[in-house]
């Protein structure tokens, strides 16, 4: 069914990428699965469960753009413990009705049984045809909780008590009202180690209306989260101060306003002169004198730290600091260099490089 793991390489639109850089698995890489999983049991089970999954398990997958619709045949349904308790109750009620040959009691028992049968259908229907868009999660730093964004499409019928969770994250509940448009829901993820982390399957479930049955569906989101290394202690890269002194500027030289120029795509939003935009003078970018300073090289070999991870942390901190100062910076690492530049895309590139350090993805 899904044995041929062909992943779409279609990227979202460039500006979406700039704002919320999604990471997608970029190729059929057999090593990734085991490398990214953290539970040893699952590593052991993966060949078997993988086979089972491909053979029997019904999993909904998202389209390359992240859309999915829960198909009628992809929904599992089983009684909850309340359902089992209710079945016991019905059995007792039936015994009482039969023993006392009491027809109103029979009728009550059968109406409740009919209600339970009806609940199977209604619970299933509460999920069936639900359309949603997996927006993915913005990159986070290791140790910080990530947030996965799912947008659920409202329909003609309300869908109360929909529960969303990744197999190892906290579940969230929402009542999806009737209407049009989408409802965006954030799912908080556990803090994760650096790297491109697979999130596993999204489990969408519901127990509405009676709580007697639980219908659920697995959704293979295929939207891994990029976890940057945890930023370490602040340190001064070689040349950081020197370069700035050379320019004869103060430490906060980049605060000096140097003038405006027309907006060019790629300029940072924080440097756009919004006040002039509000006065209908078009988009302009504020120029600072500090930006003319010479590029700063952040070198792997100069970064403090005894092991790989602490060096990566230190470099992450340095990237963040340099970015905050608005000074062009480049990255030198054993796996490759990134030429000095500035801006969110560059920042993301550098951090991504650090996040994937030691991986084939880098």
């Amino acid at each position: 069914m899904i044995s041929s793991r062909v992943w779409s390489k279609a990227w979202p639109s460039p500006e979406a990428d700039a704002c919320l850089p999604h990471e997608r698995r970029t190729g059929a890489d057999p090593g990734t699965l085991t490398q990214q999983t953290r539970q040893p049991l699952r590593v052991l089970m993966s060949p078997i469960s993988g086979m089972l999954v491909t053979r029997f398990m019904r999993i909904e997958r998202v389209s390359p753009t992240g859309r999915a619709e829960i198909g009628a045949r992809r929904i599992y349904i089983l009684p909850t413990r309340y359902g089992l308790l209710f079945a016991t109750l019905l059995l007792l009620m039936l015994l009482g009705s039969v023993n006392y040959a009491n027809n109103p009691a029979h009728l009550l028992t059968f109406v409740l049984a009919g209600l339970a049968c009806n609940a199977i259908y209604l619970t299933w229907r509460n999920l069936r045809g639900l359309r949603l868009v997996c927006k993915g999660a913005a990159p986070v730093f290791a140790g910080d909780p990530g947030h996965f964004v799912v947008e659920l499409e409202k329909g003609e019928r309300e869908r109360p008590a929909i529960q969303l969770m990744f197999e190892d994250s906290e579940p969230v509940l929402l009542d999806l009202r009737a209407g049009s448009g989408r409802y965006a829901q954030r799912l908080e993820l556990h803090p994760m180690p650096r790297g491109l982390q697979q999130l596993g399957r999204l489990v969408i479930s519901t127990q509405y209306p009676l709580g007697l049955f639980r219908a659920w569906c697995y959704l293979e989101c295929d939207r891994p989260i990029l976890v940057y290394p945890k930023p370490g202690e602040a340190w001064d890269p070689v040349g950081a101060e020197g370069e700035e002194m050379l320019n004869g500027e103060h430490g906060t030289g980049n605060e000096d306003f140097a003038g405006l120029r027309r907006y060019r795509p790629g300029d940072q939003p924080s440097q756009i002169d919004w006040k002039s935009y509000a006065r209908d003078r078009g988009l302009n970018t504020r120029m600072f004198s500090g930006q003319t300073s010479a590029p700063l090289w952040l070198d792997w070999h100069q970064a403090p730290g005894i092991d790989e991870e602490s060096r990566l942390s230190a470099l992450t901190r340095a990237v963040l600091d340099a970015d905050a100062r608005g000074r062009p910076y480049g990255l030198k690492s054993p796996t490759g260099n990134i030429a000095p530049a500035l801006g969110p895309v560059h920042r993301h590139q550098c951090l991504r490089h650090l996040a994937l350090f030691g991986n084939d993805h880098a």
């Binding site: 109103p104 029979h106 529960q163």
Partner: protein, 662 residues
């Protein structure tokens, strides 16, 4: 895989909990008639305690206190209730346990369990009372319970759509419930012992003067009858009960049991088929029209042709009988003749004298003449048919015949039988019901306790046992119309049913009859749906002799059909509800036009808004808000019911007034 349930961790909605507590209180209430007051007091105290704890959570009992309370509750059940009666003991236990559960109600899980206990509580109500009114009340309660359960399983609680959804859900459950109800096998005997119900209303074993008179004051229903095709004449509607042979002057009783079984001589045709729904009476008497020719199962005819059930009628019972009104009972055994001529030890000379006078007047070979003579006496003398005959002192028969002359049917039947015996004509008293009233909204007849009656049977050589109703000689209307209890109560004479004038009276009577028709339907189709009725129903569908696996397969197929039906109905695409936004916009335009603002159809919302503000600057804020909301919903990304509601409110509240220049 462990499935976490986020709902379980959410706090309990307090409004829902309060509603549940009050609802359970209402569901326990009908047990007032059944349970010991102490048990009920325990439950309601617990409920009240929990209700107060809604405001002040610190008074919730701790674990040790709960344990103590539980021991106390068990002791209460043991000491107040006869626990050997499984039904009563079980109900009492369930009620106190429900009370205890309320006191430890904290999480959603507890509410689930409490709702389930509530369902069971409803079931226990039916074990005591199966009336339609209670059933309707409890059905409402079940609906409310389900609706609370639905509320428990969602996050935002909206009562109105929730109740509507619950109704739809229950409607969807009904087809399956009905199919299973009709096809589920019914047992003839219970799984374990049931102790009898001590209800006793209606006709007893014997007749003492005044018995039936007091019964006749009751408007309670004795039984209902549905005739298959033929309805007998009023004069034939004598519902036979116990036959009394022995008298001591004031009291009539059954006397010795007779081993003699006479064969009736039925004259004509197929007879009258009918079905009786008998109210619980606590006795074994079933009633049938004179003369029963085909008995229902589990019953027999005694030597007097009275229909007797093998079990006490402790709950409503439905049975089918065939009767033939044209019959002769010619046989009489010597012992019966002896019994039918038995006289009380003391008979007043005045009574003897009366009979001797008649004997000398009539032809001894024509005993019928004497019967007519006696009836004539009742007719000619100023006898009064009344519910309040007054006290009879001394020899009651003499007093009644010569002095008070006020009596009810038992006085007439008793004295007449005695007179016949004195004249040497074998006679006996029959107790039962006479008459009945047809429900104008349904096919069935209702026989009330006020229709209880006593009449006489005399044995005449060529005619055999011959029914003579001396009451008819005094008050022939009794046989045709029946007694109006309400009016007879305070009246000197018995008042008979006549069509009362006045719209209110007619409406009231009509409503009462309609309620009776619904009630009868409930009893006919639900309460009295026995194994026999089930068999007849299945046979009418061509399913004969269904048992065991056959019935199980029919049940499965029927259920599958019912489920498919509901599923198909649910799949029918609903006609798209009209988009509420254009309708709202039209409403606004209408309002503006009435206020004189030109809004041609080619103007967009912004233009119209600007025009309107120019005309009514005071309303600019409201108009801008409406415009903003409309545009956002119409052209924006999101729109939900709440927003539409808010916009509707704004449009409705919009007031356009011209500025009055000061």
């Amino acid at each position: 895989m462990i499935m976490r349930d986020a709902l379980a961790g959410l706090p309990v909605p307090q409004g829902l909990l309060t509603a549940l507590l009050l609802l359970l209180g209402a569901l326990v209430a009908p047990h007032v008639a059944n349970l010991s007051p102490l048990i009920l007091a325990f439950f309601y105290s617990a409920m009240l305690w929990r209700l107060i704890a809604q405001r002040r959570p610190e008074i919730m009992p701790g674990r040790w206190l709960l344990l103590l309370l539980m021991i106390g509750a068990l002791a209460l059940v043991v000491f107040t209730t006869n626990v050997t009666d499984g039904r009563l003991g079980g109900t009492a236990l369930l009620t106190v346990m429900l009370g205890l559960k309320l006191l430890e109600l904290r999480e959603r899980r507890d509410i689930h369990v409490t709702i389930f206990l509530g369902f069971f509580l409803v079931l226990t109500q039916f074990l005591y009372d199966q009336s339609m009114w209670l059933a309707a009340y409890l059905f409402g309660g079940v609906m409310a319970l389900v609706s609370i359960q639905v509320g428990l399983n969602r996050i935002n609680i909206e009562p109105r759509p929730q109740i509507r959804n619950t109704l739809v859900m229950i409607a969807g459950a009904l087809p399956l419930a009905l199919v299973v109800f009709l096809l589920f096998p019914r047992l003839h005997s219970p799984l374990w012992g049931i102790s009898g119900v001590g209800a006793s209303t209606g006709i007893g074993q014997d007749m003492t003067l005044g018995d039936i008179g007091s019964l006749s004051r009751s408007n309670e229903i004795a039984f209902r009858v549905r005739f298959d095709d033929k309805t007998p004449e009023p004069a034939q509607r004598y519902w036979r009960g116990p036959v009394l042979w022995h008298t001591d002057g004031t009291r009539w009783s059954a006397g010795e049991a007779s081993a003699f079984s006479p064969a009736p001589d039925v004259l004509t045709g197929p007879g009258i088929d009918y079905e009786i729904t008998l109210e619980p009476s606590g006795s074994n008497w079933l009633f049938g029209l004179d003369l029963v020719t085909k008995t229902p199962p589990n019953s027999r005819l005694d030597s007097n042709f009275a229909l007797i059930s093998n079990h006490k009628v402790s709950k409503r019972q439905v049975y089918r009988v065939t009767s033939d009104p044209d019959y002769r009972l010619l046989d009489i055994s010597p012992s019966e003749r002896r019994q039918a001529l038995q006289l009380p030890p003391r008979i007043s000379p005045r009574v003897r004298q009366l009979v001797t006078g008649w004997l000398s007047d009539t032809d001894p070979t024509q005993p019928l003449q004497l019967v007519h003579r006696a009836l004539d006496y009742y007719h000619r003398e100023p006898f009064v048919y009344t519910l309040s005959p007054g006290e009879l002192a001394g020899d009651p028969i003499e007093q009644f015949l010569f002095e008070t002359r006020r009596g009810f049917c038992e006085h007439y039947a008793g004295s007449f039988a005695l007179l016949m015996r004195l004249a040497g004509i074998p006679s006996r008293v029959v107790v039962g019901y006479q008459g009945g009233e047809q429900n104008p909204h349904a096919e069935h007849w209702v026989i009330r306790q006020s229709d209880a009656h006593a009449w006489t049977e005399v044995w005449l050589p060529q005619l055999g046992w011959w029914r003579v109703d001396p009451t008819a000689a005094v008050a022939p209307e009794r046989i045709e119309q029946g007694i109006d209890v309400g009016l007879s109560e305070n009246s000197d004479r018995v008042v008979f049913h006549v069509d009362r004038n006045g719209l209110a009276g007619a409406l009231w009577r009509n409503a009462a009859w309609f309620a009776d028709a619904v009630d009868f339907g409930w009893h006919h189709w639900v309460v009295g749906f026995t194994a026999e009725r089930q068999k007849t129903l299945l046979e009418s569908f061509g399913l004969r002799d269904l048992k065991g696996i056959g019935l199980a397969i029919t049940l499965l197929i029927g259920s599958a059909l019912a489920i498919t039906l509901v599923y198909l109905i649910a799949q029918i695409p609903r006609t798209k509800t009209q988009d509420p936004l254009p309708a709202l916009w039209q409403r606004l335009l209408h309002k503006l036009q009435r206020a004189g603002v030109q809004a041609p159809p080619w103007h967009g919302p912004d233009t119209i808004c600007t025009t309107a503000i120019a005309a009514y600057p005071d309303a600019s804020e409201q108009l801008l808000a409406i415009n903003r909301m409309y545009v956002q919903m119409r052209y924006g990304k999101n729109q939900d019911r709440q927003q539409v509601k808010a916009l509707r409110k704004r449009v409705d509240q919009l007031r356009l007034k011209h500025r009055t220049d000061a």
